[in-house]
Symmetry: C2
Subunit: 318 residues, 2 copies
């Protein structure tokens, strides 16, 4: 058995590539490959493999001492190794990422979606260590999820299971989602959806808030967070509203797989208790009575980039 | 290894006990134990064990040739073998059914909920044979579910996962569910919920239907089925409405675990295409686009009592 693996966090903007040892330590990390620069998968794979070779050489690791590559990517299919119709990546339709990386690197490559990779990262090294049943919800540009049941990731019949950003939100008003559905959870609980709520409220309400000093087009979730921390009631209400929607959605997730914990990861999750507290309150108010106060709502204990790289890397081991 | 197992379908009214061989053949079946007659778990267990002994003797099977007992019961917990707060059973709180049956029979006993037992039955002997990812939805007095992912039942952290009758229905009007929540799927899609819709419509609408000739208190789902088969538009619309609610709920279930098929079992499922067709139509209209027409909606291929007994019996094997 080799002593190292490569973990790749393939994002719409950056690709982060890490060289990881058997203890889960990231020896070296590189984010020089800008995903959007590569219109062709082939060119992208060449750039990735060049970085892998460089990371190995810089750290005096022989390629033969690398067991394999694990990739977390939007719409990454664990079964086929393909990426399928990822909205925010340059390659359209179905592209054979796993096969191409294997051919170019000589290393076996496993692919899964980014939220599943985060879930594996949390299970091996983070907030879900020792848990056999938990759900990771990623709150970024979109909302994703990695669902672990009985110690196993739920991949589903087609390898694409765990799209909990695309369940219907409980409190709804007809928001169009990028996926074609109406009122997906993602249209409220992603960083984008959160800002969308803020803009809608700014337009239809007239209470005072420091957020009115920002042009609506420049508003970010970070600005709303900063305003809430400074005591802005409007900003705090935005977190309460969004937390309540997540809390109601979590009631349904609990009925499905009864996780020990639901772990929030990335983007909006960095708001911590500002978001977690209203989630817990609404969830425990609405959930089937015998699950009241039984499911922990936690924030990821790994830094964003590390969890994704570590989680992906875990797929690299045989 | 022994050659036989006992499968028990513990219902609110009847307890069906079957002697099953290794090929899944029910050699003999007994439904003489009336669940509600036994205020004490001990007396119930004595009656069940007496039937097991009789079934073995009548079929010339030695008790030593029985490998174990599997029980499907409402709120049956696979991990503990207990039944926990089952609303329709005579024993309140948490009762140690598995332990008591083991003590009295000398046979190892495994317990799970009735919908999980049905799912195991469908997987081993029915419509889900060969499938690794599917969901069984039971449409009886309540709505239950057994979820199989990657060939494994989802039991969750507490052994009680898969309560898909208690997710929120998409089209809702504030119906109180027995579980304490508002607008659970069960309040629409159980046989009881279906009749509840019929009564509400009969009251607020005035279109003609043969169902007006029945006293509302005596209305049953079977009567509505018969009316629909005879072409009653009101009755047909009830199936379309209920199917649409199920179809929308299934969109969320698909986003969770992407089953190859969703299999409807018991009670209302016996209406067949009258219910299945509107489910398919609405589901494929509303589901995330890449899952359109990818998930089969099937009717159970096992007779009700047999699937439950066979599914439970499968737990009896080591």
């Amino acid at each position: 058995m080799a002593n190292y693996v490569i973990g790749i966090d393939l994002g719409g903007t950056n690709t982060v590539i890490g060289l990881v040892d058997a203890s889960g330590k990231i020896l070296a990390k590189d984010d020089s490959v800008k995903t959007q620069k590569y219109a062709e998968l082939n060119d992208y794979a060449d750039a990735v493999v060049a970085v892998i070779n460089k990371l190995a050489a810089d750290n005096s690791v022989a390629m033969s001492d690398i067991e394999g590559i694990g990739v977390g990517a939007p719409m990454g299919n664990y079964y086929s190794g393909d990426i399928e119709n990822a909205a925010n990546l340059p390659w359209k339709g179905r592209v054979p990422l796993g096969r191409v990386l294997t051919e170019k690197s000589g290393l076996p490559t496993k692919v899964t979606n980014d939220a599943n990779a985060a879930a594996i990262g949390e299970m091996k090294y983070g907030a879900a260590k020792g848990m056999r049943d938990f759900i990771v919800i990623t709150l970024g540009t979109g909302v994703g999820s990695g669902i672990v049941s009985g110690g196993n990731l739920i991949y589903g019949h087609d390898g694409l299971a765990g799209e909990l950003g695309h369940v219907t939100a409980y409190e709804r008003e007809g928001r169009q989602c990028g996926c074609g559905r109406i009122d997906c959870l993602e249209t409220y609980a992603s960083a984008t959806g959160f800002v969308r709520t803020a803009k809608a409220w700014l337009e239809k309400r007239d209470d005072a808030t420091v957020l009115r000093s920002v042009s609506p087009d420049e508003l970010t979730s970070k600005m709303i967070y900063d305003a809430a921390v400074q005591g802005d009631a409007f900003a705090k209400e935005l977190f309460e509203f969004t937390g309540a929607i997540l809390g109601e959605a979590f009631c349904d997730f609990i009925a499905f797989s009864v996780p020990q914990a639901i772990i929030l990861f990335g983007g909006l999750a960095n708001a911590g208790e500002l978001l977690l507290e209203p989630i817990r309150t609404r969830m425990n108010q609405k959930v089937v009575s015998f699950w009241k106060n039984k499911v922990d709502i936690l924030q990821s204990s790994l830094s964003g980039a590390d969890a994704a790289v570590l989680g992906a890397s875990a797929l690299g081991w045989k």
